[in-house]
Structure formats: structure tokens, C-alpha cells
């Protein structure tokens, strides 16, 4: 039996308040859906293990506050992510328009080579739709991202989109993974590796500033 390699990395959900980031996460990790909206005020995370290409991947998914007043703080979490979901609500033109701003924040704060994927959530609310499917596709194409319309409510494309982003991150880190395959018996945590690298970033984020 071949040794199974484990990988751990971080995915981040960002987008306007109320687009359903927490619901996406709950549906994916716990297969639960709550229609009531409770604003995430802070940064939450959950673990999930999935298998991609025969590799067991453990992902830590970070759910961030979407409200504008917290954005200066939530931005600081970007640099720890290997993959980012940019989420809008298909029934909110405004949340779609804001994707541009979110993308530029990602460009500014996320590490280079971070994988992004565009999500148009609440696809079940067809009657309230303000953003066409093609618009989503168009925007994704512009930024060179994959695109999914999802529904946490009906469990549409949830697993698919999370798996896809995971695949993209795996591909992006193919080199490290291949290096790992030659080192038998080792486990890899991408997150861990990057943390090591990130350590000598200076006293500014020593002891007190802990953003994990």
C-alpha cells in the first residue's frame, strides 16, 4: 500500500456581508443549512478533510466578517490563505459589483500565487436574481478565475466548488508535494511550512500579534 500523504492548508471565504459565506461553510463542513442570518463578527474557522487525486487534504476554512467596518482587520488574515473564495449573492447586484474591490484587496494582501475562485451564491433564489449567470462567468473570465453558482440552501455545487479550489491549490503547490513524495513517511502541512517561512517577518508580529 502506498503511503498516503496528508496536506493541510487554509481557504478563506470573503465577500459582502450577507452573501452567505457562513452558510457555505456550514453546508460544506456540517451539511447543515440555517436560513436566518447572523452576522459573523470576527473570524471563525472549521476543519474539513477531503480527498483529491488520492491525496487526503485537510482544509482549514476561514469565515470572515463581511461588514465593511471590519475590513481593515479581516484583510490581515488574507496573507495566511492559500485559496480564497470570492462570494457574491446572485440576488444582489451590489455584492457583485463589490467583487472588484474584494479582488483588489486580495491582490494587495494575499500571498502571491494564492488561488481564487468566484462564487455566485443563493442560486436557488431565481426569482430574485439580479446578476445573470453570464455576468458571473464574464467577471470570472476577466480575472482568470473558475466560477460556480452555488446554493447552500439546496446544496448545489458546494462540494464541487470547495473541491475545485482545493484542486487548484494542490496544483499550485505541486512542486512541494512532489518533493514530499520523495521523502517517504513524512506528512506535509503547507500551512505549517509557510508559517515557518513567515516567521522571521520581524518583531511586529511576534508574541502579541497572533493572527491564527
Amino acid at each position: 500500500m502506498a503511503k498516503q500523504y496528508d496536506v493541510l492548508f487554509r481557504l478563506l471565504l470573503i465577500g459582502d456581508s450577507g452573501v452567505g459565506k457562513t452558510c457555505l461553510l456550514c453546508r460544506f463542513t456540517d451539511n447543515e443549512f440555517h436560513s436566518s442570518h447572523i452576522s459573523t463578527i470576527g473570524v471563525d474557522f472549521k476543519m474539513k478533510t477531503i480527498e483529491v487525486d488520492g491525496i487526503k487534504v485537510r482544509i482549514q476554512i476561514w469565515d470572515t466578517a463581511g461588514q465593511e467596518r471590519y475590513q481593515t482587520i479581516t484583510k490581515q488574515y488574507y496573507r495566511r490563505a492559500q485559496g480564497i473564495f470570492l462570494v457574491y449573492d446572485i440576488s444582489s447586484e451590489r455584492s457583485y459589483q463589490h467583487i472588484m474591490k474584494w479582488v483588489s484587496d486580495v491582490d494587495e494582501y494575499a500571498p502571491e500565487g494564492v488561488q481564487k475562485i468566484l462564487i455566485g451564491n443563493k442560486a436557488d433564489e431565481e426569482q430574485k436574481r439580479q446578476v445573470g449567470r453570464e455576468q458571473g462567468q464574464q467577471l470570472a473570465k476577466e480575472y482568470g478565475m473558475d466560477f460556480y453558482e452555488t446554493s447552500a440552501c439546496t446544496n448545489l455545487n458546494i462540494k464541487e466548488s470547495f473541491t475545485r479550489l482545493t484542486e487548484l491549490v494542490l496544483q499550485a503547490h505541486r512542486k512541494e508535494l512532489d518533493g514530499l513524495r520523495t521523502r517517504a513517511g513524512n506528512e506535509l502541512a503547507l500551512a505549517e511550512l509557510e508559517e515557518e517561512e513567515g516567521k522571521p517577518e520581524g518583531p511586529a508580529n511576534s508574541s502579541k500579534t497572533c493572527w491564527c
Binding site: 451539511n31 463578527i41 478533510t49 482587520i73 502541512a189 500579534t209 497572533c210
Partner: protein, 994 residues
């Protein structure tokens, strides 16, 4: 509030106040407030020394002027600061923390406020203790000497004054000024005076003298000590005296006391004191010992836990070891096997044949392919394959190939078979074949041999075995040739046991222990087991065979008897023997042995099994084969094998992984907050507002802490404090956090100008868990406190009557353009607020004793502030001292001091040269010049009445010097020379007409 700032201002260069806490010094019944500052000094060699500086202080120490040094306790090797539980009192959570400070010379007891700040303070002190590392040098505390030498400079001891105004003359303080004597200190003084006068003093000591001494003692001098002891004061007072004496930071050695001409009359006084004292301490020690030890360990616990707060992410991740997780997944999979597998029957052919060293001479089909249906699996065993010495010694025989070929050719023609494994030990050989289509589902094939022959080890007897996995079922097939001879049945039992215990298969995962025969779902055991028929003579046996009375004969079968006695093959099953014994025939015939030995017939060749879902379809011998003196035996089984349903397997695996994920997610610390948004309305200058909320913990113990936002040096804005800002929560417990908002001079100006707002977001971080954001909002009511002089001059209206934009604009206006009067409406000469206060004092307080030297009342200050900011000056009704303090606070909170920062050094240079000084003043911006002259005029007015108010130039120069002239470098260093020059500068103006 961080009172270390105030302490810092009193410190010399190189000294740094790490942390400060306000506590209560307990001496007997007296309780005196003290500021305890932990001060670090870095030596040239890089080493650090620490001392605890104890200060008396104004109610709330804001600047160095609010505190006066009382004593210094160096953190020497014998220094200990430990938490003690107050005698006879139950510890109540949330009550003050009582700590005891011990050195070789003194013991002090403090009560510190409950909470994280005190914890931090104690930790810091514990950390700063030099410990007992012999490698490091003893700390020498040379740097503390400067505080000793500084003292005589500042004050010229005049006994009359000491009596009349003790507060300002604390024995060894006044680096920081000591503008006021703290109320507590004064109260303490009165207490002691009262007490001492009520004591009867034998030995001719004059009461008057004793009073005098005590007074001095309380002044913090540590100057006397021994003197009062003679008076027969209580032990407590003795101790106190001793403490004072030695504690005074070592400023005065005991011998020094003599320098005050007080000891001369009583040479024994000192000795007595010491004796009594040391006696008392000796009694004390054992009593406290265990308690101290306990609290020590508590303190170290604290230190340890606080370092954990510094979360090491890599460490946390490695805590979820993947390996462990894999093992858990596997064991769950085994437990849930039935959920994702189903039973499918496989047909097994099991055969055993003792060939007596012969080569194959006939076709084996009658034995191997007698049934119509082709078996799925063949397990074929031989014994006595080769009886030659070569086979025995060199373990090599051509027979292996011959018999393998013979078997392979005789397998059922209805199917194609693949050889899985061949294993041989001398003459014992086992062959395993499966139908080709099953080959893919065979895994983990291992084969082993165990010799039990000569010496109990050789291969002439023993067993061979093949184990494998067919789909999800593990199967072990054993072929054994056990010891011969009728009477040797116990030897045979032993051989069986040896095979069972010594047959070990290595596992794929080398970290797992090897598998034994018994650890298999299905065990098939075949072979020449050599058990005979006993007690019956040969003829009787043959007769019963003739009659086909196998049941009767079976009763005498040794194997049957031994199995029944549970001495061998425990748990195994054998099918009914419906065939005649397979041993011993004349080779080439069906005739019983006719040789000399004339062996009795026996069922030597047997097949047994163990496991679930096994049904035997046939069990027979094959008389047609005549090559050997044994007949071959066969048994056909249907064995139920667990086959994996891939889809169900995936689902089960996913479920297991999901449940593990869920478990892990449930173990992420999580809390709920009773409130996340905090609004502080109408915040006023120096008026504390508090909002509180509760953190309720969930099921996971957690450590919480407010963490800094990136590029910020604190977890919140300067005007805010969270208490406690970190802590530990047990499952289902909760803690109340207080958010305290306090705007002081450091933060007021930017709030006035709008550069800062009452707005902040705090990040509450759980170790290994989530972050919560707390938002703080509110509005600040601008105040003249913290506003620049020129701004106030342009405000003809009360500041609170102006629109916020105007306040902001005027506050941001640079002082230079303000001089360009043409642009703005006619300004006032000086701020009206300043005039209001000065005018009030001029009218009411010109004769006030101790003016500027007694603290005001907080409530009155708030009233004064409101009157000034709303312009309702007519309503002003406050004590003179409060207005005086408000005036000082006003000057102190000016963002640009009256003598502008840029002129500071010029002024110091001119100090002593009045003409030049006046020249410098004339270069000040107009409003600043006006204010300076106005204040000087007022102070001179006060001095005219010094007969009544007891003020003199020195006092006023010392008070106003540090307010009007402030070092532009900030509060970092406060050079004594500079301080004196600043005072001297003001002094000139007080002595000369404006």
C-alpha cells in the same frame, strides 16, 4: 491607566519602569496607598538589575509630579514577593490579592487589586528576580545610589519645616517633585502621632521627642528607627521602624541614624530593636513556610500559562497528528465493517496427502477434481514429500516441482487457476491456487514455516502456513505433519501448540505486531496429524471398518478424545468421518499394511476449520490413489467471504472522516459574548466611563486575549483599557470584562481636533480558536483641557457651544498663523478659561494655605471642567484646592506648553540671567507670552500674601517650573539639572517685577 508613565517621569536615564500597580501598604492597622513600580536598569555589560520603587501618590498619578518616592527595595537574591492568604480569612474570588515582600532586611505586606494587571505585575516581578544561578554575578545596585545622592540637593533639611509640612519632605524622595503630600500619607502620619502620644514611655524618653521621631519616620525617611524602639512600642511599630530604616532603599544604613544625634543617648536601643525583631521573624517563618511554598507554585503556574498564550502555530498544527488520525479511521472502519461489506460464498477445496516420499505416478484428478463445480480456491498439502537425507539437510528436492506440476495439471478443468503461493518445509508442502478472476482480490499474502521435529526444531515434522486476504476476509491455511507413533499423542498436542505460537506473519505496516494463526477470520488446518486409534487391537479395528461402523471406531480416535479434552485444536470443528482410515496401506493397493510392524489403521489425515460462515460440503478420502501408504483426503467448503461494496465503503469512510472533522470542530474553543458593540456617549475629559460584558465559554477550555491589530502597539486605542485583557476560561465558565474609557491629556487634543474619534475595534482572540471583533463607538465632548492656548484665545464662545467643525479647525490651526490676526476675528489676549480659574483663585484663594499643594476633589474637578466648557462660570462653586488643581491640570494638558517646546532649551540656558530670560519670553508667540506674563503676575500676587498662604518663591517655582517648561523630548528623561534650571527660570520672574 498606566501609572508606570508617572513613575517613569521620576526616573533617571537608563532606568525603565516596566510595570506599575497601585496597592495598599499594610502596616498593622494602618493602610497607606502606594504605587509600586518595577524599575529595570541595564548595566553596561548588558545585564539587568531590578528594584521595586514605592511611591506615595496623588489619588490618580498621571505625571511624575503626582508621585513621590518613598522607598526602594532592590531585587536582590534574597528578594521575594509572594502571594499570601490573609490570616484567618477565607479567600474570596475577586478580593484583593495580599502579597508579602521579603528580603533579608524587611518584610512589607501589600494588598493589590484583584485582576490581570496585578497578575501581570507579580509575574513581571517574579521574572525580574535574579534567582540563584551561581553563574550570574550578585546584583550590586550601584545605580540606585543616584537616588540617595539626589536627595540632599533637593531639600535642605530644616526641622521646623519637617514638622509643619511633612508631606513635601519625604525623607528621600523628591526627584519627582512631590508637589503634594498624599492624603493617605498624611492620614497615616496623624495616626502614628496619635498613637505614639498615647503610649507610656518609660525610661525617661520624652514624649515630645518620640513624637518628633515618629513623624520623621513616617515621612519615609527611614532615618531614625532605633530611637522609637526604646520607647517600648508595640512589636508592629518596631518592625515598622526597622523596615523603614533598612527599607529606605538602603539610603541610610543603621549607623547613619546616629548622624541625626538621636541615638547618642541610648546606646542599647539599636541592639534591642534588632533582637526583638529577629526573634519575631523567626517565629513567623515556619508558620508561613508552607503557605509561601504554595503560593510560589501558583505564581510559577501563572508564568507558565502566560507563555502558552504566545501561541505557536506550528506546534498546534502538529498536535493533530495525521498518523493518529489514520489509526482512528482504520479502527472505525473495522468496527463498521458490516455497513459496507456483504457475504459472498467462495468454494474452497482443501486436500491433504502423505505421499511417503514417492513421486507422482498417477493422475491426481480423482482427488482434486472429483466434484462437478470448479472450486474458487485450492489449498493442497503434502507430507513426506521427500524422505531423503538431501531433502532434510539441504532443503532441496526435485519432488517439489514434480508434485507442483502434478497438482497444477489435475486442478478442475472447468476453470483457470493462478498459483498464489507455494511453501515447503522439507517434506511438508502447501500450495495455494485461486481462480484467475479472484487473483485481484487476494492481498497480503504471507507464508511461514515452523519445524517441530528433531530437537523440536527440525523440519522433518512441523507445519507450514499461508495467510492471505480474500476481499475483506483474512484466511490462514495450515498444513502440518505432527509427531508419529500411537503413544505420542501428547507430543502431537505439543507440536500443534508450538506451531500455533511460533507461526508469525509479518504485517505490511512494520510498526504493527506480527499476526498469529488465531488472528484470522478463517483458519483451515489440514495435514497428517498422526492421531491414531487407541485401545482397540488391530483386528477389532479392521472388523469395525469392515462393518463401516465408523461412529464406533471414532470414539477411540485420539484426535477426537484430545479435542474433547480441550488439549488441542480448541475452537476447531471437524466434519463427520464417513470414510475409512487413510493409513496404512500397502503401497499400490487398498490392502492394510502387511509389513512386520502391521500398523493398526488410523485416521491420520484430517481437515479441520475455525471461523464464521463456513459450511463443509464434503469430507472424504480417495481410495483410487495408490502411490502412497496413505490415501489422500479432501474437503470442500463454502466459505462466506466479506466483499466490499465500494460505494458503501466510500460512504462509510466519508462518514467516519466527517465525524472526526466534526469532533475536531467541536474542540475548537468557542465563546459567546454578552455584548459586542459598546457605545460611550458624551465622553468628557478625565471622566472614567465603564462598559462591561461577559465572556461565556463553551465546552472547551480556552485562553482568551485581546490582541494587537497589525501595526499597532496596543490592542486598543490609548484612551481605552480592557480589564482583564487576557485570561483562561474553564468549560462552561464565564468572566466579566470591563472596558474603561478615560481621556487624558495625551489623547484629548486629537479628540478635540477630530484626528481621533471614539471609535475602535478590539480583537478578542481565543488561543487555537476564533477571533471576535468588538466595536467601540461614542462621541467626545471637546474640552478646554487639551486645547492649545491660541485655539482657546480664538474661541470667544464656550467650547461646547461651538460646532465640532469649528473646534476641529481651530485646534488644527498652527500656532504661528494664529499670530496673523488679520485673518480671523478678534481673539482674546489669553484663554478665557484660564482667566476664569485665575480670577476665581484671586478672589477666593489669595490667603489659602497650602494652595497648589493639596489635591482637589474629583467631583469638583468635573464640575469645574463643565463650567469652563459651557461658560457657566457663575455657577462655579468649588474648593480653592480643586480650582487650583484644575488650573495645574489645565497647564499640564496644554499640547504646547506655555513656554513653547522650541524655546525650552533657550530658557534653560538663560536661567539665572534675568535680562536674557525676559528676552526669550518676548520671542514667544503672543498668546503664550500673554499667558506667561499673566500667570507670573498672579503668582506674584500670591506671594504678596505669603504670610497667610505660606507660599514662597521656591515652592511656586518648583510647581510651575515643570508645568510651564516641558522637555520637548517628552517624558523619557527628567534630568535633575534641567529640572533645577527650569525652576530657576521661573524663580527669577517670581522675584522680579514683571
Amino acid at each position: 491607566m498606566d501609572q508606570s508613565v508617572a513613575i517613569q517621569e521620576t526616573l533617571a536615564e537608563g532606568e525603565y519602569c516596566t510595570i506599575a500597580v497601585q496597592g495598599v501598604l499594610c502596616k498593622g492597622d494602618s493602610r497607606q496607598s502606594r504605587l509600586l513600580g518595577l524599575v529595570r536598569y541595564r548595566l553596561e555589560n548588558g545585564a539587568q538589575e531590578h528594584a521595586l520603587f514605592l511611591y506615595t501618590h496623588r489619588r490618580m498619578a498621571i505625571t511624575g509630579d503626582d508621585v513621590s518616592l518613598d522607598q526602594i527595595v532592590p531585587l536582590s537574591r534574597d528578594f521575594m514577593l509572594e502571594e499570601v492568604s490573609p490570616d484567618g480569612e477565607l479567600y474570596i474570588l475577586g478580593s484583593d490579592v495580599t502579597v508579602q515582600l521579603d528580603t533579608a532586611e524587611l518584610r512589607l505586606v501589600f494588598q493589590l487589586p484583584f485582576g490581570s494587571h496585578t497578575r501581570m505585575f507579580l509575574q513581571e516581578v517574579a521574572r525580574a528576580c535574579p534567582g540563584f544561578d551561581p553563574e550570574t554575578r550578585d546584583p550590586e545596585f550601584l545605580w540606585l545610589s543616584r537616588h540617595r545622592f539626589a536627595e540632599p540637593d533637593v531639600q535642605s533639611p530644616k526641622p521646623r519645616e519637617w514638622n509643619s509640612d511633612p508631606g513635601t519632605r519625604s525623607g528621600f524622595t523628591p526627584i519627582g517633585g512631590g508637589r503634594y503630600q498624599s492624603r493617605n500619607a498624611r492620614r497615616g502620619l496623624e495616626d502614628v502621632l496619635l498613637r505614639s502620644s498615647s503610649y507610656i514611655l518609660p525610661g525617661g524618653g520624652a514624649t515630645e521627642e518620640s513624637e518628633f521621631l515618629l513623624a520623621r519616620e513616617t515621612l519615609g525617611g527611614g532615618t531614625v528607627g532605633g530611637r522609637s524602639a526604646r520607647g517600648g512600642l508595640r512589636d508592629e511599630a518596631l518592625e515598622e521602624a526597622d523596615r523603614e530604616m533598612s527599607a529606605g532603599g538602603g539610603s541610610r544604613e543603621r549607623d547613619c541614624a546616629g548622624g541625626f544625634n538621636l541615638d547618642s543617648s541610648r546606646p542599647n536601643g539599636r541592639g534591642l530593636l534588632m533582637d526583638q525583631n529577629s526573634g519575631a521573624r523567626c517565629q513567623d517563618k515556619p508558620d508561613n513556610f508552607t503557605r509561601q511554598n504554595k503560593s510560589k507554585s501558583e505564581i510559577t503556574d501563572m508564568v507558565r500559562s502566560s507563555t502558552i498564550t504566545v501561541s505557536d502555530k506550528a506546534h498546534i498544527l502538529s498536535m493533530h497528528k495525521f498518523g493518529l488520525r489514520d489509526t482512528i479511521v482504520k479502527s472505525h472502519l473495522v468496527q463498521k465493517e458490516e455497513d459496507y461489506t456483504y457475504i459472498q460464498n467462495f468454494r474452497f477445496f482443501v486436500g491433504t496427502y502423505n505421499v511417503n516420499g514417492q513421486s507422482p505416478k498417477e493422475c491426481l484428478r480423482p482427488w482434486l477434481s472429483h466434484s462437478t463445480q470448479a472450486p474458487d480456491v485450492y489449498c493442497v498439502g503434502f507430507q513426506e514429500l521427500d524422505l531423503s537425507k538431501e531433502a532434510f539437510f539441504f532443503h532441496d528436492t526435485p519432488k517439489e516441482e514434480e508434485w507442483f506440476k502434478a497438482v497444477s495439471e489435475s486442478l478442475h478443468p472447468g476453470a483457470k487457476y493462478a498459483k498464489v503461493k507455494l511453501i515447503r518445509l522439507v517434506g511438508i508442502m502447501l500450495l495455494l491456487y485461486v481462480k484467475q478472476e479472484h487473483a485481484a482480490h487476494i492481498s497480503e499474502v504471507e507464508a511461514e514455516t515452523v519445524g517441530t521435529g528433531i530437537m523440536g526444531r527440525m523440519g522433518n515434522k512441523g507445519g507450514v502456513a499461508i495467510r492471505f486476504q480474500l476481499h475483506n476476509t483474512s484466511i490462514c491455511v495450515v498444513n502440518s505433519h505432527l509427531a508419529a507413533h500411537t503413544e505420542e499423542y501428547e507430543r502431537r498436542n505439543q507440536d500443534y501448540k508450538d506451531i500455533c505460537s511460533r507461526m508469525q506473519f509479518s504485517q505490511v505496516d512494520s510498526s504493527l505486531p506480527p499476526l498469529t494463526i488465531s488472528k484470522h477470520d478463517v483458519i483451515l488446518w489440514l495435514g497428517d496429524l498422526n492421531y491414531r486409534i487407541e485401545e482397540l487391537d488391530v483386528e477389532k479395528v479392521k472388523m469395525l471398518i469392515e462393518e463401516k461402523a465408523f461412529q464406533t471406531l471414532y470414539a477411540y480416535d485420539q484426535l477426537k478424545i484430545q479435542v474433547a479434552a480441550k488439549t488441542v485444536f480448541e475452537g476447531f470443528t471437524e466434519g463427520e468421518l464417513t470414510f475409512q482410515p487413510t493409513y496404512k496401506y500397502d503401497t499400490g493397493s487398498d490392502d492394510w499394511d502387511t509389513s512386520e510392524k502391521c500398523r493398526a489403521p488410523a485416521w491420520c489425515d484430517r481437515v479441520l476449520w475455525k471461523g464464521k460462515n463456513i459450511s463443509q460440503l464434503s469430507y472424504q478420502s480417495h481410495m483410487a490413489l495408490k502411490t502412497s501408504d496413505h490415501k489422500p483426503v479432501s474437503s470442500v467448503f463454502d466459505i462466506g467471504v466479506r466483499v466490499v461494496n465500494e460505494e458503501l465503503y466510500r460512504k462509510t469512510l466519508e462518514e467516519i472522516v466527517r465525524s472526526l472533522d466534526k469532533m475536531e470542530n467541536a474542540n475548537i474553543p468557542s465563546v459567546s459574548l454578552s455584548k459586542r458593540e459598546f457605545c460611550f456617549e458624551n465622553v468628557k475629559y478625565m471622566q472614567l466611563q465603564t462598559e462591561s460584558f461577559t465572556i461565556h465559554n463553551g465546552q472547551v477550555p480556552c485562553q482568551f486575549e485581546f490582541i494587537n491589530k497589525p501595526e499597532e502597539y496596543s490592542y486598543c486605542k490609548q484612551w481605552l483599557t480592557a480589564k482583564p485583557s487576557k485570561g483562561f476560561l474553564l468549560p462552561d465558565s464565564h468572566v466579566e470584562i470591563e472596558l474603561e474609557l478615560f481621556v487624558n491629556k495625551a489623547t484629548a487634543t486629537k479628540l478635540n481636533s477630530g484626528e481621533d474619534k471614539i471609535e475602535d475595534i478590539l480583537v478578542l482572540h481565543l488561543d487555537r480558536g476564533k477571533d471576535y471583533f468588538l466595536s467601540v463607538t461614542g462621541n467626545y465632548l471637546p474640552s478646554c483641557f487639551g486645547s492649545p492656548i491660541h485655539t482657546l484665545c480664538y474661541m470667544r464662545e464656550p467650547i461646547l457651544d461651538l460646532p465640532l467643525e469649528t473646534v476641529s479647525k481651530l485646534t488644527l490651526m498652527p500656532v504661528q498663523t494664529a499670530d496673523d490676526r488679520s485673518q480671523l476675528e478678534n481673539p482674546m489676549e489669553i484663554p478665557k478659561e484660564l482667566w476664569m480659574m485665575v480670577d476665581y483663585l484671586y478672589r477666593n484663594a489669595i490667603h489659602q494655605e497650602d494652595l497648589f499643594q493639596q489635591p482637589g476633589l474629583r467631583t469638583e474637578f468635573e464640575h469645574i471642567r463643565d463650567c469652563l466648557d459651557t461658560g457657566m462660570i457663575d455657577n462655579l462653586c468649588a474648593s480653592n484646592h480643586s480650582v487650583a488643581e484644575a488650573l495645574l491640570l489645565f497647564l499640564e494638558s496644554l499640547p504646547e506648553p506655555v513656554i513653547c517646546y522650541s524655546t525650552y532649551h533657550n530658557c534653560l540656558e538663560c536661567s539665572g540671567n534675568y535680562t536674557a530670560s525676559k528676552q526669550v519670553i518676548s520671542t514667544l508667540p503672543t498668546f503664550h507670552k500673554n499667558v506667561f506674563n499673566y500667570l507670573m503676575a498672579f503668582l506674584q500676587e500670591l506671594l504678596k500674601n505669603s504670610a497667610k498662604n505660606h507660599l514662597d518663591e521656591n515652592i511656586l517655582a518648583s510647581i510651575f517650573g515643570s508645568l510651564l517648561l516641558r522637555n520637548p523630548a517628552g517624558r523619557q528623561k527628567l534630568d535633575m539639572v534641567e529640572k533645577k534650571k527650569a525652576q530657576g527660570f521661573i524663580h527669577q520672574f517670581l522675584c522680579s517685577p514683571v
